[in-house]
């Protein structure tokens, strides 16, 4: 009978399971940011005026531009999935490529924005920030922590998109087996959704 055991059982693919796992993972991401949102609420209640002033120093234009970029990239990743479902592999690759480019644009803007703030001395332990009242120090601490952590997620999302782009190219993600693409899309939407909360909390706080 043990020879029977040695024979491999048919490979097990469970899309529902994979999607459930992905959603659970997204829950953990929301709670990861949840800790920061909790701190934000507590400090904003304590330092309303300082948060108001802190928000005034941020570059709202870049913040809003980045919001448009991410929202559009969510659209393109959704289009990539629809295109693959309809069997149009080329369009899928194009849409994924555009999504990655949008992600890179977002990071570029972030770089410009952070550079501006840092040049002004507005960074943790920075000379200008140390002169400001405590509440604004906290505001900037949270600003860097929240946008920084979000930025890391954008980087992770871009890497995931690039990997899945390669899968589509090599035909291991196909119109009948596109679970990896769908889950990557879910992750990218999450990155987008978190940003939608960051924009009003930080840039429009003033």
């Amino acid at each position: 009978m043990s020879s029977v055991h040695a024979q491999p059982h048919p490979a097990h693919k469970d899309y529902e399971g994979a999607k459930l796992g992905m959603w659970l993972f997204l829950f953990t991401e929301i709670l990861l940011f949840g800790g920061l949102f909790l701190l934000y609420s507590a400090y904003r209640a304590r330092y309303p005026l300082e948060f108001h002033h802190g928000g005034q120093h941020l570059n709202t234009f870049i913040g809003v531009a980045n919001t448009f970029i991410l929202l559009t990239s969510s659209l393109t990743v959704a289009l990539a999935i629809s295109a693959l479902q309809k069997g149009n592999r080329k369009l899928t690759l194009t849409c994924l490529g555009i999504t990655i480019l949008f992600g890179l644009m977002f990071l570029m803007n972030k770089y410009i924005e952070w550079s501006e703030e840092i040049a002004k001395g507005l960074y943790p332990n920075g000379p200008e920030l140390l002169k400001l009242p405590n509440g604004e120090k906290i505001f900037y601490g949270l600003y860097y922590a929240m946008t920084g952590l979000h930025g890391l997620h954008v980087v992770a999302g871009i890497i995931a998109l690039a990997i899945v782009w390669n899968f589509v190219r090599r035909n291991s993600v196909t119109p009948t087996d596109f679970n990896k693409l769908e889950n990557t899309g879910l992750y990218w939407h999450l990155v987008d959704v978190i940003w939608i909360f960051l924009l009003p909390l930080l840039y429009l706080a003033a």
Partner: protein, 540 residues
């Protein structure tokens, strides 16, 4: 399948699969091998932490002089706590027995994401290595206690960032295991296994996994912020910049209190498996036990503030947290009542797993009741930060989770390895463990009630007798633990063949050969009844 177990050549999953030697373990995605990988790593880490505990008890043998420098004592209790909490009791039963038994108990061939499962183990090992490295790199081992309270953790010169990062990586391991188990329970139950036909160990793992998934990210972000604070000075927990250390405590306990239930729930689940088997009687109150696991997980997530009664949260918050703390005792007590009711009129056979399981109930009840004492606001003011707390959580975490782990190990060892240990030695080892345990931690309860503060490297003369009794108890306990594990270790090589079902258990894992074959089942079984039916005739 019984016939295959009796064939002389049969050795189950330990003998099957392509690779041989060490790689067969390190690259295996078989849930059973992953479970044993965890077991090996944990037993090693457990003894490291026991050894550190013994060193602390040696220090407390003297009053006027210090055997170890005070700073080293701080490092000892920090490392003891970090290893025991994050690397033994927290992943403990879920990672070892959950991995090994969960798929078999629900009639599946593996967990939902086998590769992710192996990855969790690597995260676990990476976290453990980082924690060990933090002892030797930088300016000495962390000295904050396992709680890493701000602002001290932001200021101390010792190697806190690495230890904190180690805990972060371990959290990753915990989250991935949680996601894996929830998905497994939802997707891979055998045909016919409805929710109310699942063994109760599976229910407890399911509840635990939700806490792992939902609470662990909060400690993740908290620990990342401590690292960001130390490297960049972002100020969110730093009072000098307007940050509030109390908020650190909130975030820390939002995870770390539910984590207590991550530790205890699977142990309760294992006890729930053992008791009906040795009472030869179906479990009393199946649904009450199943749902009380969920209730503990839910209520347990709302009581974190009871660690902070003396931190200055405010009167209203204190009262609310105290009230919910009392509430969480209800589902815990439901379990204890159900276990004892199961015993009533059962045909009880005292074999080693049962003895350790009953010990669990006794010690856990003491732990639970002393917990209620601390949940009362006025008494808490007196008991906070004393040895009473230390005694209490050792009764819960060691007398509870630890004893549950031992009971589960004795119960499932013959199934996991196909070998039987020496039952007599397992009984003999119980005596020093039980006596030493109560001398050590019972002593701590009394010392703490008399005012002995925790985390001091020395003590005043009036506490000396108590400390000597506790220390002697500690040494007896450590000797018992050595005997316990030596017995199992010998059995691995010299143990007699265990047979498929040495205890007469009725859940699915006893219906596959010992050790189970690769992929567990040739044909996925179909489940036709609820679990724990010892006399199928009577059930109709």
């Amino acid at each position: 399948m019984t016939s295959s177990a009796e064939t002389a050549t049969y050795r189950g999953f330990l003998d099957e699969g392509g690779r041989k030697g060490l790689l067969a373990w390190l690259l295996s995605t078989d849930h059973k091998r992953v479970g044993i990988l965890y077991l090996g790593a944990m037993v090693f880490l457990f003894f490291v932490a026991v050894a550190i505990g013994v060193l602390m008890r040696i220090e407390q043998l003297v009053t006027t002089t210090a055997i170890f420098p005070p700073a080293m004592y701080n490092a000892l209790f920090t490392v003891h706590g970090v290893i025991m909490i994050f690397m033994f009791v927290l992943p403990g039963l879920a990672a070892v027995f959950g991995n090994f038994m969960l798929p078999i108990m629900i009639g599946a061939r593996d967990v939902a994401f086998p590769r992710l499962n192996l990855l969790s183990w690597y995260f676990f090992i990476a976290g453990a290595l980082l924690a060990v490295m933090s002892l030797f790199l930088g300016n000495g081992p962390p000295d904050t206690g396992w709680t890493f309270y701000a602002p001290f953790s932001l200021r101390t010169g010792t190697n806190v960032p690495l230890a904190v990062f180690a805990a972060f990586v371990l959290g990753f391991s915990s989250i991935l295991t949680g996601i894996n188990f929830i998905t497994t329970v939802h997707r891979l139950r055998a045909p016919g296994m409805g929710w109310h036909r699942m063994p109760l160990f599976v229910w407890s793992l399911y509840a635990t996994s939700w806490v792992q998934v939902l609470a662990t990210p909060v400690i993740g972000i908290t620990l990342l912020l401590v690292i960001a604070e130390r490297f960049f000075g972002i100020g969110v927990f730093d009072p000098a910049k307007g940050g509030d250390p109390i908020l650190y405590q909130h975030l820390f306990w939002i995870y770390s209190h539910p984590a207590v239930y991550i530790m205890i729930l699977p142990a309760m689940g294992a006890i729930t498996e053992i008791i009906p088997t040795f009472a030869h009687r179906t479990i009393f109150g199946y649904k009450a036990i199943a749902y009380s696991s969920l209730a503990i997980a839910a209520l347990g997530s709302l009581v974190w503030g009871h660690h902070m009664f003396t931190s200055g949260m405010g009167e209203a918050a204190n009262i609310a947290f105290s009230l919910i703390t009392f509430l969480v005792a209800v589902p815990s007590a439901i379990k204890v009542f159900n276990w004892t009711s199961t015993l009533y009129k059962g045909a009880i056979v005292l074999r080693p797993p049962m003895v350790y399981a009953l010990t669990f109930i006794f010690l856990f009840s003491i732990g639970g009741l002393t917990g209620l004492m601390q949940g009362a606001l006025n008494l808490n003011t007196h008991l906070h930060d004393t040895y009473f707390i230390v005694g209490h959580f050792h009764y819960v975490m060691f007398g509870g989770t630890g004893m549950g782990f031992f009971a589960a190990l004795l119960y499932w060892f013959p199934k996991m390895f196909g070998k039987m240990y020496n039952e007599k030695v397992a009984f003999i080892a119980w005596a020093p463990i039980f006596v030493g345990f109560n001398m050590l931690y019972g002593g701590m309860l009394i010392l703490g009630y008399a005012g002995m503060p925790r985390r001091y490297y020395t003590h005043l003369p009036q506490y000396h007798t108590g400390h000597v009794i506790a220390s002697v108890g500690g040494f007896i306990l450590a000797a018992g633990l050595l005997l316990f594990f030596a017995n199992l270790f010998v059995a691995l090589f010299k143990g007699k063949k265990a047979g498929q079902n040495p205890w007469g258990g009725v859940t699915l894992e006893w219906q596959v050969p010992a050790p189970p074959p690769l992929e567990n089942f040739d044909v996925i079984p179909e489940i036709k009844s609820r679990p724990y039916i010892f006399n199928p005739e009577a059930a109709k």
